[in-house]
Symmetry: C2
Subunit: 460 residues, 2 copies
């Protein structure tokens, strides 16, 4: 067996690479996990290419790791057991827009921004916004969400149908074009968030939304993070349907100002967005402003100008990137727990206390409306003391979240880093997950070593 | 083995019945499927009771059919292979309301109206509204939805966690208290809609919503059903977030007037509801009214008065009941396909043409915003010609929906009646569903003969 030559014979020379630079590009993601080179990278151009490679890999027990743009945050696209990295950059067609049905079919390599540029001409948009210009395939694989989930939901809520190639090469579809269905078991939901471990997506059908008539953004500053959180709870309890509701702590604001050239007050802040019609938004904004005052809001600034609004969200979205790339020597570790929102003030206070205790440079920010927040901690991977502290902090936050009834990952996924918490989070349910994996990928060739504790495949 | 005595020994005499009247009550649902008596009815009072009965039944290969209030519409709660009907009327506690988290934990026997009465005091509500005062357990089992799904989603979208007793008696939980999670495979979604075939729910954690500040309802009449549908599409495409959007054809309006004492014009109509703040709703209503005029709306009546609004929705909700119970000699067959909304005018025209062709008394109504509609056809079960026509009509509508990319059931579930369409709808995916069932219920004791084509358990 010669992997490279066999793959070339299957899908053509132009679609297979063992170029060092290409292998290196496919060895890492945006996480702090160590890189690992694949043996080969393939660039399928259609579902048949995917089927051929998967069948071959299954026969020879070769790991396959799907690759979008490498923006994952838990090592999902790192080929830790080597084998094949399958890059979807040549499967990036928007297959069909059905504007009246508010539906689009895309190939997995389509990116979020590419999709929204196309949809604009129909007055439609795809709401899920994890910040990075990730591929739709990658976002579906990790059940990504981000700033708009509080209003529009997560990836799983948007997916009507997946075309999936199973480990044995069978092609299935998991849903239909219907907006809702009570027919059969919900395989859509099972495959979304399966991180490439159950099958490989070759086509994805998504729900779309009409661009709202009016969009307003606002920034609100508070003396403490606790005030921010309590203010957010009061808005949600009042039944106001926020489109975005982000917590950004003072450390993060400093980074925003530094990286994006803004001059926002260096105070714990809420970044808000309202979607609706003009009259409705104005009434909501007034009501929200009143509510925030009761929580000691010191500064409420309305970004009605669309450029300023764009800047606000650009700054927020680039924040994670700004931290991750602030120093070439340092790495950034991001936590991702999600808890019942009433417990957020506690866990956020706890997190700040632990960051200070370890004397780390860390920021707290997140999707407060969902109870999902991130800690971004800078550390030197060469400094073992740093590494130990960072790992302890991550673990402490996860354990605290479990005590509050939460989850170890709100949106980044399990990947490599959260496997060790799966038994504690899921208990006996983990056995069912292992059973599903065993049934669908008995040779464990699909992204082995991710999501579940599982054996390494042996090359045949 | 003596089933009755064994069950009495396990969970107490007061919780087991073989009374004829009780057996009869548990032999049927609201569908047109033939009744079948269980051997015994059990009334568990806690999760331990459920575990004991399930373990016993698994050991002796006795079918268990969960029972809520018997409002299912595809025969889900009919014990077609006899065995045990498990009635959850004694497990109807609202376990915990967490108003700040917008979360509630309930036992499966809690009904929708019971829940909303309790939630009112917190200014909260549970939005899923299938019309019937079903139990939350039953609604979760069939992935029920109804009039509000266009805005708030279906049952599957509301469920954060399920406590489930598996066929072997193991207790699992499928989620957490977090609003969103990317941890592990999505077992919540797999169990919701599994119709009692994978496990039995003993506790359900639901998302809640704040009661909107302002609720407005309206009725709009049109010359044809096609006008109604096209008007609905134009509202959705404009990005207006409707809370309810119902199609009611002229035949249904006649039934509404007759049953509910209203005097609505006997014309194809849309029943609409807007949730938001006052200014926002007013702007939406004005815009919608304009849009509807472009589709030849002849009559737009605003029900701002809360009594009239309540009457409107009561009339709509009782419509199905009104048909089903309009004559003691007749049965009502309901279809339930869901299709991409742009294709609704075609399939609704086709359906009307086929009803007329068979010379049946049938109405068309449904959740037009989701592309989900029902045909209600009255027939005499003693008249074989009637039965044949009704079955042909149902099949023709399902096949037409498949051609349009739709599903055979938008919200009623598969139960008995839609099993024959599962292969055509799901193709190779059906094998995965059968694999999941085999893994979780190898002896096929959990609601056998529902949802999937599967063997009858043999009593040991």
């Amino acid at each position: 067996m010669n992997l490279f030559h066999d793959l070339v014979a299957l899908i053509g020379e132009e679609n297979v690479s063992i170029n060092e630079t290409i292998l290196l590009q496919h060895s890492k993601d945006e996480s702090n996990h160590d890189p690992a080179m694949p043996d080969t990278v393939v660039f399928p151009t259609n579902r048949e290419d995917v089927q051929k490679v998967v069948k071959y890999a299954n026969e020879h027990r070769i790991p396959i790791v799907p690759f979008g743009v490498g923006s994952s945050l838990e090592g999902h696209s790192i080929p830790i057991h080597k084998g094949i990295s399958m890059d979807f950059q040549n499967m990036n067609a928007i297959v069909e827009v059905r504007p009246q049905d508010l539906i689009v079919k895309v190939q997995p390599g389509v990116t979020r921004i590419q999709l929204n540029q196309e949809l604009k001409k129909y007055g439609l948009f795809f709401p899920v916004d994890p910040g990075a210009d990730a591929t739709i395939g990658g976002m579906a694989s990790t059940n990504a969400s981000g700033t708009t989930a509080v209003r529009y939901g997560v990836m799983r809520d948007q997916i009507l149908n997946l075309e999936v190639i199973l480990a044995d090469g069978r092609l299935i579809h998991t849903g239909s074009l219907a907006k809702k269905s009570s027919s059969g078991y919900h395989l859509n939901g099972l495959f979304v968030g399966s991180e490439g471990t159950l099958g490989i997506f070759t086509e994805i059908t998504l729900k779309l939304h009409g661009i709202p008539e009016s969009i307003l953004a606002a920034r609100a500053c508070f003396p403490t993070v606790r005030n921010c959180v309590e203010a957010a709870i009061s808005i949600l309890s009042a039944g106001i349907s926020m489109a975005r509701m982000e917590l950004v702590d003072a450390r993060s604001i400093a980074q925003v100002n530094d990286y994006s050239g803004t001059d926002y007050p260096v105070l714990p802040s809420l970044f808000l967005e309202f979607h609706g019609n003009e009259a409705g938004n104005e009434e909501d904004v007034q009501f929200v402003q009143q509510l925030l005052k009761e929580h000691d809001c010191t500064d409420f600034v309305f970004e009605s100008d669309s450029n300023k609004r764009a800047l606000l969200w650009k700054a927020r979205h680039e924040l994670s990137y700004a931290f991750r790339h602030s120093s070439p020597k340092l790495r950034a570790m991001g936590t991702d727990v999600c808890v019942p929102i009433s417990t957020l003030p506690d866990i956020v206070d706890y997190t700040r206390e632990r960051i200070d205790y370890y004397d780390l440079d860390g920021a707290i920010l997140g999707h407060i409306g969902d109870g999902n927040f991130h800690t971004l901690v800078m550390y030197d991977p060469e400094n073992q003391e740093h590494v130990d502290k960072m790992e302890k902090l991550n673990e402490e936050i996860v354990k605290y979240a479990f005590r509050l009834g939460g989850t170890c990952t709100g949106e980044h996924g399990v990947g490599i880093g959260k496997i060790k918490y799966q038994q504690e989070e899921h208990g006996e349910s983990l056995q069912i997950m292992l059973g599903v994996k065993q049934m669908l990928d008995p040779n464990n060739i699909l992204n082995p070593g991710k999501l579940l504790p599982a054996a390494v495949p042996q090359i045949k």
